[in-house]
């Protein structure tokens, strides 16, 4: 009896471990375009994606922070990723979106040029960030290689970090 039980438990454990492995191997990302390049962030760090709404300018902050906007009663900072990456500003188009990202209690909205797609990527396809950028400074978590393109994966906690 106890032997049987042990077998069942073992089998269950194996099954669980197997699940873990599978989950571990693939990460889900959401891709978007800023300027000419495609970036992506883990899907779990996205709270929501909304169409552009009005915002309020806040004085005395770096210019890449457009200001704050009202997301159902919460006041949330709005950051323009073009400006953040040093790209020239562009007028919002029909494809412009705000991605609201969260990391713990930190929440902010990011303006992106357009969304591409949700990407499932095996972990082994993700390489480290280029060596030329120092580890602590970079906003790049890694580079995902797909058949026809390269996707830069961003560090959400770095994007949400106040650096002024």
């Amino acid at each position: 009896m106890s032997e049987k039980l042990q077998q069942i438990i073992n089998r269950q454990n194996q099954a669980l471990a197997g699940d873990d492995q599978k989950v571990d191997e693939v990460i889900q990302l959401v891709g978007f375009i800023v300027g000419e390049e495609e970036f992506s962030i883990p899907i779990l760090s996205i709270q929501e994606i909304i169409k552009p709404i009005g915002w309020t300018r806040v004085p005395q902050i770096p210019s890449y922070i457009l200001g704050v906007f009202n997301l159902r009663g919460s006041v949330i900072p709005l950051i323009d990723l073009r400006a953040r990456f040093g790209l020239p500003l562009q007028k919002h188009t029909d494809e412009t979106r705000f991605i609201v990202m969260k990391n713990g209690d930190d929440v902010a909205g990011f303006v992106i040029d357009r969304l591409t797609e949700a990407i499932r990527m095996p972990k082994r396809d993700i390489g480290p960030a280029p060596d030329t950028i120092s580890e602590s400074e970079t906003m790049i978590d890694g580079v995902g290689k797909q058949a026809d393109r390269i996707v830069t994966i961003l560090k959400v906690h770095k994007l949400l970090e106040r650096n002024f």
């Binding site: 004085p59 005395q60 902050i61 009202n70 006041v75 930190d106 902010a108 106040r162």
Partner: protein, 829 residues
């Protein structure tokens, strides 16, 4: 363990509440040393804390409170007269007790503080009148037993005859015990106590018997006490005869009646029981009347109400819009009713929740009698404190913040304000100085006033001192009004005491006062007369989460200013703004007010505005004032303060944000920070600037720029040709939409626009009114050029903001002249 934690928390809450009352009672006690009620109250505090701390195994605290209780008990029984020396020791021990409690709260243990010195002093004072300590022990045991006895009290009415027999036996035994107790007095009690350790060696029966004996004895003593009490207090007397009737019918034995003491004995349970019942009642009622609620829950509730207020604001806005659009429709009436009910209930709800967070300010005031007492002894001055309005309530968070500033102000009054007795006498004042502490409501504010009848503030002396210390320059000092000079005492590094005492004079205190009051959006007003005294008025808003705000506009931005800091708003013409040493100022009645433009503070990009008038919001905070120039005043609104979050925290000049009725975010001005910023911001206020800008730009004719809006190419060409001789830049647009887009792009700064009325997509009238919606184009001259010549058309043109109306056909010279006039062509060259 959790249970222990819970008990510990309850104990701490209770203890701190008790202590708060204690200080005041003690000071009162010194003036009325024979007030028994007061003494009993104080004794009970020591006793309660001792009991609980021994239960919780806080040995040090128990040790200390035990000796305090001892001393207080002697005083209670009249064995000790409380004089100033005794009081000092008691106060010292209470301070120590507080320190221990704080330690327990913070670390969960009471070790590490040395109480032995204090205990020794307590004993010394106690032994000075030499009453034996055991008495206290008995009192404690008695009280402990009393509880037990209460529980063991048999229910007479439910007894059988046999039981009644036994009960009577018991009562008799009790009576005997009492007689014995009377005979041997407290000695026997001591003996009882001494025999306690033997309990362990006793057989069950023996223990039983011993308990029985102690109980009886205790009951007897109690009974005696009660009897005495009953005799003393008339109202209770009717109870006494009625009680035996409960016993007598069930046990009609003359024996009972025959022994006079027994009569007293059975009477004992009754009053006690009724008392217990009363207590139970009041406790039961108490439970219903008050509940302890975690502050976090109230905060959460407050947040929810905040959301509701925002929703209400939004609803009101929508209602207004709907009203405009569907004027006269029947359903509007209904909607109106619903909206007003919702807004009414929301307001009431908000007030109700706010009230749950309110605490009487007495909680803060309570510690001052003690402080004044200590200070007057330390400083050798005679000072009396008068407190009024301690029941005035305000938000818990404010109560917590207001304590420190008040301590500083009162210390200051004692140290610098009130003179030494001799000096006072010499000035013809009474020897005893008075400090009044008052609190009262004034609108949405609470005012706390501290008035002393000391020597008052000397403006010249303050200035002199500040110059010496390099806080201000002589020039500044000369320009200062008396009130401003009083404000100097709040400057960091200022101290008027020639001598630095332990009380004050280090020049930090009053600085802290100002910062703390400003943090609460409060104001300080000082009034003083040399030789008569000083009055300080602290005006603080009742609550912090939801506030009334004045909404102002600058260009296309809006800001909310806490109404608490707004003293008034004035509309002035630009001529009234003067420049003194690069700062803009204006005269406001008999004061000179320095001005700052809100756009300069918040880096608002300002396209020239040459409007004749400006609105000045006069802001007051603590003792300083400033005029804030804004473009427009929107109105007053109830706003909920929201934080900008971790990412944007600490932005200078911004206290937070709020969400308006239209769903947009409006920033809230931090008035204190704004005043600081105003000092360093370079001013661009005044018309000179507008003019220099214009002069700088218009160096040649081509710097003038006019937009021509017409759907007909021919008409555009005619206009262009007519204006060509002027040499000005001309931009063309084919309809209203395009014209608006060109304006928005901002590539050109237009000096005037020529607008056709009949156009596809957007006509001239609509275009004109759209343009006028932008603040920066308010003064842009719009000239209608049209073939419509009717009076009604002209009227409509004026209504939509046109300044001139040219009817086609026109002569090129006429058009040129009109344009020249409107763009002030070459006037500046």
């Amino acid at each position: 363990m959790d249970e222990f934690e819970e008990i510990l928390q309850d104990f701490l809450i209770e203890a701190f509440e008790l202590i708060e009352q204690l200080d005041q009672d003690l000071v009162e006690l010194e003036t009325r040393p024979d007030d028994l009620d007061l003494l009993n109250r104080i004794f009970r505090v020591a006793h309660t804390i001792k009991g609980a701390s021994s239960f919780l195994n806080f040995d040090v605290l128990t040790h200390l409170t035990h000796h305090m209780e001892n001393l207080l008990n002697m005083a209670r029984h009249g064995d000790l007269v409380i004089d100033a020396n005794v009081m000092d020791v008691i106060l010292e021990s209470i301070d120590l007790m507080k320190a221990l409690l704080v330690r327990i709260r913070d670390r969960g243990e009471d070790s590490g503080l040395d109480v032995s010195g204090c205990v020794a002093r307590l004993d010394a004072v106690a032994n000075g009148d030499a009453a034996p300590e055991p008495i206290v022990e008995i009192a404690v045991i008695q009280e402990a037993l009393a509880v037990q006895v209460n529980e063991d009290e048999p229910d007479y009415s439910a007894m059988s005859d046999a039981q009644v027999e036994a009960e009577i036996e018991r009562l008799l035994a009790q009576k005997q015990a009492e007689a014995a107790a009377k005979r041997s007095g407290s000695n026997e009690a001591v003996k009882n106590e001494e025999s306690e350790p033997d309990y362990a060696n006793m057989s069950d029966i023996e223990v039983e018997a011993e308990i029985e004996r102690l109980l009886l004895e205790k009951q007897a003593q109690d009974a005696a006490k009660r009897a005495q009490k009953n005799q003393n207090t008339a109202p209770q007397e009717p109870v006494v005869p009625s009680t035996p009737t409960v016993v007598v019918p069930s046990a009609p034995q003359p024996k009972v009646e025959a022994v006079p003491m027994v009569k007293a004995a059975p009477s004992a349970p009754s009053p006690r029981r009724s008392e217990a019942k009363e207590e139970g009642d009041s406790k039961g009622g108490g439970v219903e009347q008050t509940i302890r609620v975690d502050v976090k829950r109230l905060d959460h509730l407050m947040n929810l109400i905040g959301e509701l207020v925002l929703g209400k604001n939004r609803l009101i806005k929508i209602n207004d819009d709907v009203e405009e659009r569907y004027e006269g429709e029947a359903f509007l009436e209904e909607l109106n009713q619903v909206v007003s009910i919702v807004s009414l209930v929301t307001t009431d709800l908000q007030i109700a929740v706010m009230k749950t967070r309110m605490l009487p300010i007495g909680k803060v005031f309570n510690k001052f009698p003690r402080m004044i007492r200590d200070l007057s002894r330390e400083l050798n001055k005679k000072i009396e404190l008068e407190i009024a309005g301690e029941e005035t309530e305000l938000d818990k968070s404010i109560v917590e913040e207001i304590g420190d500033p008040l301590v500083h102000i009162i210390r200051n009054s004692c140290d610098h304000g009130i003179e030494v007795g001799d000096v006072r006498m010499a000035h013809g004042k009474s020897e005893v100085g008075t400090i009044q502490l008052k609190a009262y409501h004034e609108g949405n504010h609470i005012v706390i006033q501290i008035i002393d009848d000391g020597k008052g503030l000397d403006a010249d002396m303050l200035k002199q001192k500040s110059i010496e210390k390099g806080i201000i320059t002589e020039k500044e000092a000369d320009a200062m009004s008396e009130k401003e000079a009083f404000g100097l005492i709040f400057r960091p590094g200022f101290s008027t005491a020639a001598q630095v005492t332990s009380v004050s004079g280090r020049g930090v205190g009053m600085d802290v006062v100002k910062t703390n009051i400003e943090k609460l959006n409060g104001m300080i007003d000082i009034d003083s007369e040399v030789g008569k005294g000083t009055s300080m008025k602290l005006k603080i808003p009742l609550t912090l989460a939801i506030i009334q705000a004045l909404l102002v506009g600058v260009q296309e931005e809006y800001y909310a200013i806490p109404l608490a800091s707004v003293l008034e708003t004035v509309r002035i013409s630009k001529d009234e703004i003067y420049t003194v040493e690069n700062r803009s100022v204006m005269r406001l009645r008999d004061e000179v007010l320095s001005l700052v433009h809100i756009g300069d503070i918040f880096e608002v990009e300002r396209v020239f505005d040459n409007s004749e008038h400006a609105y000045v919001v006069v802001l007051g905070l603590a003792e300083s004032k400033i005029g804030l120039i804004v473009d427009t005043l929107i109105g007053q609104e109830e706003i909920v303060i929201k934080s900008l979050g971790e990412y944007l925290k600490g932005i200078e000049g911004i206290a937070g944000a709020t969400i308006r009725g239209d769903g947009g975010v409006t920033l809230i001005v931090d008035v204190a920070a704004l005043m600081q910023m105003a000092k360093s911001v370079k001013s661009t206020v005044g018309i000179e600037n507008g003019e220099t800008k214009k002069l700088g730009v218009k160096n040649s004719s081509s710097d003038y720029c006019v937009m021509v809006v017409d759907d007909s190419k021919t008409d555009r060409t005619i206009m262009r040709k007519s204006l060509e001789p002027l040499g000005i830049t001309i931009v063309e647009a084919v309809d209203g939409v395009e014209a608006l887009n060109i304006l928005k792009q901002g590539d050109h700064f237009f000096d005037a626009m020529l607008i056709d009325i009949e156009m596809p997509r957007m006509d001239g009238y609509t275009l004109a009114s759209e343009i006028k919606k932008y603040n920066k184009y308010k003064n842009l001259p719009l000239i209608a050029v049209t073939s419509r010549a009717g009076k009604a058309d002209r009227m409509r043109g004026v209504e939509s903001g046109m300044v001139e109306y040219i009817t086609k056909p026109y002569s090129p010279e006429y058009l040129m002249n009109v344009v020249k006039r409107n763009i002030k062509f070459n006037e500046g060259l």
